[in-house]
Assembly symmetry: C2
Homo-oligomer: 161 residues x 2
């Protein structure tokens, strides 16, 4: 994992890109992982732990009607979280994670383990949907690991294009 | 550690208190630990990962002159972070952690491992100053563990008084 963190860090530095995060189910774990790398302040500004819906609205800029219409765990809310944190923190990239870590809160349409990860860059947003298997903390860790892979692949792809 | 998390959770629920966090050197680790406990949304609203000084100012409400006068790692900044997040998130308690996790950034007056933890409740603020020994991630983990102990002891003390 530390290798993936370092690869992501090196790519961000090389491309002179800055990053902010907006986390719901992971509660700060993704930010904690980013800042494990010494010198992460070069590219990481910080983020919002948007655990309650009220914070998703008031700080992350998610619209009430999006929350009501699609639910807090949805691609639509993930997109608004990523765009909102990017805008508020004035960073090149904004990453959002929202999901159901369990053990309760799952439904037949959105079972425990459902996670949406979204990366906003410029006017684009890139979204992934996953259903992770495991206990609460395994799901949260899997979501963070997947978010790092998502980010690093996006940075590598941009490099090639 | 999980036992301490659960004790803190039980106390917060029993006292019907809500909590928000403002993290600098721990980068979200404290929030991640709070949300390991299922049902933490009952008392945890979220927080700000105030990694850069700009975010400490713009989101956490730390004054520019406090940052310049005392430095980002100081009791004064920790207090403004704790008060700021409590106010912005409208929670009963606000907890802030700011420190130097290293390996660089230390000085003779503020060596690597220097950490300030502050809890704001009502008009009161409670501050602790520590110098933890170890590598970057050990210092960050020690700071979070100590913040949990600080919070739980405060909740227990309030219970008795």
């Amino acid at each position: 994992m530390m290798r993936l963190l370092q690869i992501t860090a090196d790519l961000l530095i090389k491309k002179k890109l800055t990053l902010s995060v907006c986390e719901s189910c992971t509660g700060g774990m993704f930010g904690s992982m980013i800042t494990r790398v010494p010198g992460s302040s070069r590219y990481f500004s910080g983020g919002i732990i948007a655990y309650s819906n009220r914070v998703k609205e008031s700080l992350a800029g998610v619209r009430c009607k999006t929350l009501k219409g699609y639910g807090a765990v949805s691609a639509e809310v993930a997109k608004e979280m990523a765009r909102g944190v990017r805008r508020r923190f004035k960073t090149d990239l904004g990453i959002a994670i929202t999901g159901i870590a369990g053990p309760s809160g799952g439904t037949s349409k959105k079972p425990v383990g459902t996670v949406y990860i979204c990366i906003a860059e410029g006017h684009s947003v890139h979204t992934e949907h996953h259903i992770f298997i495991g206990k609460r903390d395994q799901i949260r860790k899997a979501a963070c690991a997947r978010a790092f892979r998502f980010l690093s692949l996006l940075l590598i792809r941009n490099e090639k294009s």
